[in-house]
Point group: C2
Chain length 309, copies 2
């Protein structure tokens, strides 16, 4: 798959994600539910619909395709990861957290609605993620579905994404029991592996589980996921330094101002660029057991490294 | 089981819950985790340890016992429900929500720590709940475990607890797109069935699933759970009007001040008391297929109706 081909594929997957989310985030009460408050559903729709790269669902779908696994099930598992991603952005943007006003070029959810609604919409999306994974439509085998639940819960929890967000706030010197200030490279890598890496690696592991990967194949995909997650975050840190706010869709230059722990702060811009090249090569190399079948995932890694937004 | 016997049983279960939570909320990183930030774990422990009636875990355990199901697995499923309950209290207490200063006689989590930590600790507990359910220690059969995940996600989500909290805020007139003000009885019942009823009914349904209940048995337990959840909330509303803050462990009289939708507001104190008696009888009657085996659950319903805190 050439570079433009992976972009086309991402667009197709993103359109499927958008359509599927539109269906899932419905006002109609589901089985066993009493009612769905319209303001809450509208808030969830505001946060989740209307674009985004949908990178995480694409990772589930492209990984599952390596094994010719059912695409509809992979898409559904991808929706669950996207809901967790969406909830994390809503809560990260809150006044008590990063206090952001813009997200993808629009007012953040608590600005467009209100803070209470934003907290609850995030809570509801996190819960919905596990609801989606639990349904037989994701995979006929309960063992596989419960494996997806375990994978996503671990990636999102206290030892993963939420823990990483906590370390990030601590690095800013937000808490009196932690000094904050510049972090060394090892601390930044650990923080980023948790805060963003875990939710890049998880959809790849979930795609592998849906495809019934062998332990060797899982190990190769885990190595790919780790390198890709790290590359994603380096690209993000570089964008915050070098990107235009209009293209990125949110305020740039915020990391340095907030004293955020970034790899650019630890390695400098040139050092971070070199690291990005290394990580992309690592991600690509990890896929060697799959040969040319994994060219889509390789191109995706290149796309992630070179993205401008 | 006599009344004092159910109190003793609740104490025993509460001690087991406390010990199990102490183990689960550990600083040690679990399998596949990078690290657990100590401040976040301390916050989760502050919110979850140190007492509480542990009613929801007791409901899983006592229901599972009707079927002689494994108690250790039931306790673990009960921990998951307790984590969801704990997260909901943390988020409900936040300044943007109910802005409460006290919970069980101690400063609320965002007062004892800070708002960002409280948001993340709630998020982490919700995530942990599904992690707990996913592990084989809860039940050897993946079909049963995935059923528990589905049950809990539905009870906690947009059509359940979180949706109920949203309706509750709307009833207070918090949002410009909803008028708020006094709610009629039907609206209060719907709101309360979602906000608190769903997370009383869910552990009963989960105990039934762990025990391999027949459809008829499930239906009986569902009826019990609905009546018990409603009774719990009426008792709570009455406590807010009649209870002493020192006994209840949080500010009382707050519901009326906030214009909360309560059954006391809709029916008056005497009407609410009569309703409580009816609901307790309903809960008890629903269990008739189980005969005397269900006396523990009957006594529990009486305990819930008569509790002073």
């Amino acid at each position: 798959m050439a570079y433009s081909a992976v972009e086309r594929r991402l667009s197709t997957i993103a359109a499927s994600v958008e359509a599927a989310l539109d269906g899932v985030l419905s006002l109609e009460a589901g089985a066993g539910e009493t009612a769905r408050p319209s303001r809450l559903v509208e808030a969830m729709r505001y946060a989740m619909l209307g674009g985004g790269k949908r990178l995480r669902p694409a990772l589930v779908v492209l990984t599952a395709e390596l094994f010719r696994a059912d695409t509809a099930g992979a898409l559904r598992a991808g929706l669950a990861v996207e809901c967790v991603h969406g909830y994390s952005l809503i809560h990260d943007d809150l006044p008590a957290m990063d206090d952001d006003a813009l997200r993808r070029g629009r007012p953040t959810l608590h600005r467009a609605f209100d803070e209470a609604t934003a907290i609850l919409a995030g809570d509801a999306l996190l819960t919905l993620a596990f609801d989606l994974l639990a349904a037989p439509a994701t995979h006929p085998d309960a063992d596989v579905r419960i494996g997806l639940v375990a994978e996503l819960a671990r990636a999102a929890g206290v030892g993963g994404m939420v823990g990483g967000q906590m370390l990030d706030l601590a690095a800013e010197g937000r808490f009196s029991d932690a000094p904050g200030g510049p972090q060394d490279e090892a601390a930044v890598l650990r923080l980023q592996a948790m805060k963003t890496g875990a939710l890049i690696a998880a959809p790849i592991a979930m795609g592998a589980a849906l495809g019934g990967a062998t332990p060797e194949q899982r190990a190769a995909l885990t190595a790919y996921g780790r390198a890709l997650g790290a590359a994603f975050q380096v690209a993000d840190d570089l964008l915050d330094v070098e990107g235009e706010a209009a293209t990125v869709g949110k305020a740039t230059g915020k990391d340095a101002a907030a004293g955020k722990a970034t790899l650019v702060a630890a390695l400098g811009v040139e050092g971070a660029r070199r690291r990005l090249v290394d990580l992309t090569a690592q991600a690509s190399g990890a896929l060697s057991p799959f040969g040319a079948d994994a060219d889509g995932l390789r191109d995706l890694a290149r796309f992630v490294a070179e993205r401008q937004a």
